[in-house]
Symmetry: C2
Subunit: 218 residues, 2 copies
């Protein structure tokens, strides 16, 4: 297809596609003349991948370029690039350091120990957990850390299913990247729906009273 | 405590605290003179709540102000404000509309039907799911929609536990808001750890070959 059709089918302006070509995020088309080229389905698929990572994943152009470069050269992705796909690291608690920081760090370390997961306190995900536990405790939710296992059971099941689904798929590296990004997005959307479902639609007061959950006004 | 101590203990500059006072996000202190006031533990707690919503939740000042106003007046939060805490809505697929959009929409509708969850196609979370399913299919992951139930089972368990934990807690509205925000953050961090665990640390090739998952380079 010509550039115009690629633009129409992808929904992207020609100028955006040309930018991706210049940045080598999109491979060149097959030249058919001095200033003409044709593009195939693989170009359309690559454009969809770029937009998924940028718009759904919220990644920066620099990270997307790095991911595409790895996929292009080996078809696989490194651990480092996989980690760069995750939600940005949450800043550590800014206030005066007090014993609550130590309590939160100890609770997260105990959780990691129970799971048999590596317990590097400088791992961005581990730091995020400590920050979250500390914030929850400060807000009065002192059992937040006990519920980390629920989150972990859930995450393990979902990620296991994701990885198992990848095995027979062509372009598994690409699918791994996409499912990393989409899994987080879907988990958040489904959590929102679960919240609404449990708090009761249109009968919030009655059902929340029955369940002993806090009242939510309509 | 005086403003200086509030600043030291919260880790926030005096100018930031004064901004929150002007914006009525922080209640005034108890006046002890023409230009002096003292602050209590409730001010420190409110500052922590503000920072949690802004920094961990990534919410805008406008949304935080609205949440605090509701908590301040009734101690409860409305469904509308709860929804505003969720991750921003993902834009719909931009390209030419094709039968893949319909397939994705039908798969999400079938998922919602199975769960007995309200199936409004204009619900932001529902639109996010359709966009994610479409993107996953375009990338070659055609069973993505089948795994939505896994995500939903996981989310239900986690949210049920969260809501049950709130029941006996003072200031349940505040805790509900915090746990909404922190739940998403924790889920994402734990997914990252689960990924690393399942892909094997330092033995990626062997364990991934055993499990039939794609190779990840070190």
């Amino acid at each position: 297809m010509r550039m115009n059709e690629l633009s129409r089918r992808s929904g992207l302006p020609v100028s955006t596609i040309k930018y991706y070509l210049r940045e080598r995020m999109l491979p060149p088309g097959h030249a058919t003349g001095a200033n003409q080229a044709v593009y195939g389905e693989e170009h359309l698929r690559r454009l969809r991948l770029i937009r998924t990572l940028l718009e759904i994943g919220g990644l920066s152009t620099a990270v997307v370029r790095e991911v595409l470069a790895e996929l292009g050269s080996s078809g696989a992705v490194s651990r480092r690039v996989l980690a760069s796909l995750r939600t940005p690291q949450v800043a550590a608690h800014q206030g005066e350091r007090d014993d609550q920081d130590d309590v939160a760090a100890a609770q997260v370390a105990a959780f990691l120990e129970r799971r048999g997961w590596p317990a590097d306190p400088d791992h961005p995900a581990v730091r995020t957990l400590v920050t979250a536990v500390r914030a929850a405790r400060a807000a009065g939710d002192r059992e937040f850390a006990d519920r980390l296992d629920l989150h972990a059971d859930a995450a393990l099941k979902a990620v296991e299913a994701e990885l198992a689904a990848l095995a027979p798929v062509e372009r598994a590296g690409e699918v791994l990247v996409v499912s990393c990004v989409l899994g987080d997005v879907v988990q958040s959307a489904v959590r929102g729906l679960a919240h609404e479902h449990l708090l009761g639609a249109g009968e919030a007061d009655q059902s929340s009273a029955e369940r002993g959950v806090p009242r939510v006004s309509a």
